[in-house]
Symmetry: C2
Subunit: 227 residues, 2 copies
Amino acid sequence: MNLSEKPKAVILLSGGLDSITALALARKQGFECHALSFDYGQRHNAELVAARRIAAHYGLIEHRIMQFGLGSIGGSALTDESIDVPEEAAEGIPVTYVPARNTVFLALALGWAEVLEAHDIFVGVNAVDFSGYPDCRPEYIKAFQTMANLATRVGVEGGVIRINAPLIQMSKAEIVRMGTELAVDYSMTVSCYAADSEGRGCRSCDACRLRSEGFQSAGIHDPTRYR
Amino acid sequence: MNLSEKPKAVILLSGGLDSITALALARKQGFECHALSFDYGQRHNAELVAARRIAAHYGLIEHRIMQFGLGSIGGSALTDESIDVPEEAAEGIPVTYVPARNTVFLALALGWAEVLEAHDIFVGVNAVDFSGYPDCRPEYIKAFQTMANLATRVGVEGGVIRINAPLIQMSKAEIVRMGTELAVDYSMTVSCYAADSEGRGCRSCDACRLRSEGFQSAGIHDPTRYR
């Protein structure tokens, strides 16, 4: 099959468990995948290292890491430079909501999709085993899609932009099971909010806990590296 | 009046004619205005100089310039150095359209509004004398507002986020007339897509043409500086 005949998709690739599964699914569905990651001043930079590793592993046609200063608006311990958190103090790091994060990420993905003439964006948000963020819910994704079709050239000219959130109604266990069927190597991923520079998890933050319970409940060996 | 008793608003301040008018209107309506500008690799950097000048002139409580690499996704004559800015009007959506620009700007404004606990965002988009961009239409703004209320903590907790686009149904002449009543000094603003480093316009691009016609049709002296 000629690569250029595949429909294109932009995949939001954080480097975590959910986004690698969304990527594997998009590939399985026949998309030519263009991955987008963000360097927005997040403390857990190990995620970006993981995202690069994943993009290389799958031999993606393109992986862009876009930099912007989300940290400059503050409001989150994950991005606020005025809160100096030592790497060792994993238990004390608050797992905080980054204001409008998914809206900003999807907006930038939408811009790139327009340039690529891609009609599909994949995002690994999840409304079941999640941390209670409003921008992870199905009604939010649906409203973003409606807006996206009014915002863009392709929408105006009669095309359709689809925001694909295939994991949104799945439990972590279901995600892990599906990813395992898609031969995803979860040892490449980093979910921990306080991962060390090697990408090893802390075992105790929200993200580590949800991830670990997912493997356990799926009855699948957990390859996560902890420090 | 105590400053802190005023409701807060985030104003998207490009440094052009429309955004200064939206700012003047928000101030008139009693908002404490927090201005947000973007350095996204646009060619017309004179806009940012103008935005700084405007923020200083009005003594705004805060003006943030957020940097991000929208240029890195390409696709527009305003950010992509390989595409020339056209000097004449063309049919349809022009090459100066920056993919998903207003969506990205509003998303970042939304994030800052959440941090500030502001419920109002002002944006000077205009659907009458505009350049045919899909993300300047009333139905787009409405859809963004719906999405914003699902995306955010304040929306989920029963508050309301309003995307105020007070100029959207006005002609350039009406905008200039209203701004003049609000004592706006338009000589501070830059609209030209190809302004020189002093902020002087080219007279021939879409933006210069629309602006000049606005003053003419309003019967108001045009203080725009041309090179």
